[in-house]
Symmetry: C2
Subunit: 196 residues, 2 copies
Amino acid sequence: MNDGTPLGMHSSVVITLPPWVTSAVDWQRPYEHDDEKMRLAVALARLNVERDTGGPFGAAVFERDTGRLVGVGVNSVVRLNCSSLHAEVVALMLAEQERHSFTLAAPGLPRHELFTSCEPCAMCLGATLWSGVKRLVCAATRDDAMRLGFDEGPVFPASYTYLEHAGIEVVREVCRAEARAVLELYHDRSGPIYNA
Amino acid sequence: MNDGTPLGMHSSVVITLPPWVTSAVDWQRPYEHDDEKMRLAVALARLNVERDTGGPFGAAVFERDTGRLVGVGVNSVVRLNCSSLHAEVVALMLAEQERHSFTLAAPGLPRHELFTSCEPCAMCLGATLWSGVKRLVCAATRDDAMRLGFDEGPVFPASYTYLEHAGIEVVREVCRAEARAVLELYHDRSGPIYNA
């Protein structure tokens, strides 16, 4: 792989959403209930598979009280050559850009919540903690993802206890069947399992 | 914070290193021993504090067998308004860009190793796993960071066992004193504790 050119030429990375996201997301309307919010995360996961832009995972960050959408993410690991760009990380990054803040819990900001089409891996669980969201809502389970061959990393019951002690409410299995169907679609299309 | 402008304007994030990194890093020479590699990671951490560009953490990715430097990172959470941009994540992202691969363990690539000036938080431990590095070398300990008020998140002995089972060698306390001195410098300068 090394062709003699100097290493270290990369001092930046540009993280973008796939172009289809613009027309797939309604940024103006409030999202009212957990089901409605999760349907957006799952729709992003499904489109990411159907458009061949990445793994079967989507996420979205909302203002908790108003239901306003603040950021969305889709798994972008393969598309952007970046192993850390899981859907949750992308959604949190873009939400923080939107808020011009490294924490969504900054003074003066409304409370935020993260919806993800699948329970977070070890990395995303940590990222959730650092983001300042006050609520984490998940659709498919860790087992659903692992059944496809995705590794979820060292996540333990105590990991969730840690989040809860940090003041983050965790809700699971909202729209699980719909999210699992997207995992199965990806499997049927023989999508690459990047965290094998 | 919401001034009536439409949300969702942010569909990209640009991740850059601070400008001083270019002149602080020698990309051409091989780095031979663990101490020498770690001194680079710790020097990056120190410069990040001295130049006021972020938290007291630095990281670097090397080819394990040749000692060639592939990517560097410094904590960029506050500078780039992005809670996930810990030094390890930045270094791994840039190394993957350099390799044009979402995994540093891709067929045909040499083995890679991550040096970090402090034991990884929960997020970075997960990111290490997904990156494909085969070796993780740490300087300061989790306790050293926590003594300053940094939270490290849900990392347990079993988390490291998980990494080792995945074929990642873990080495600790290489240049710990030097790395701890950087943490203390940051503390003395009253640097912000973003993961409080």
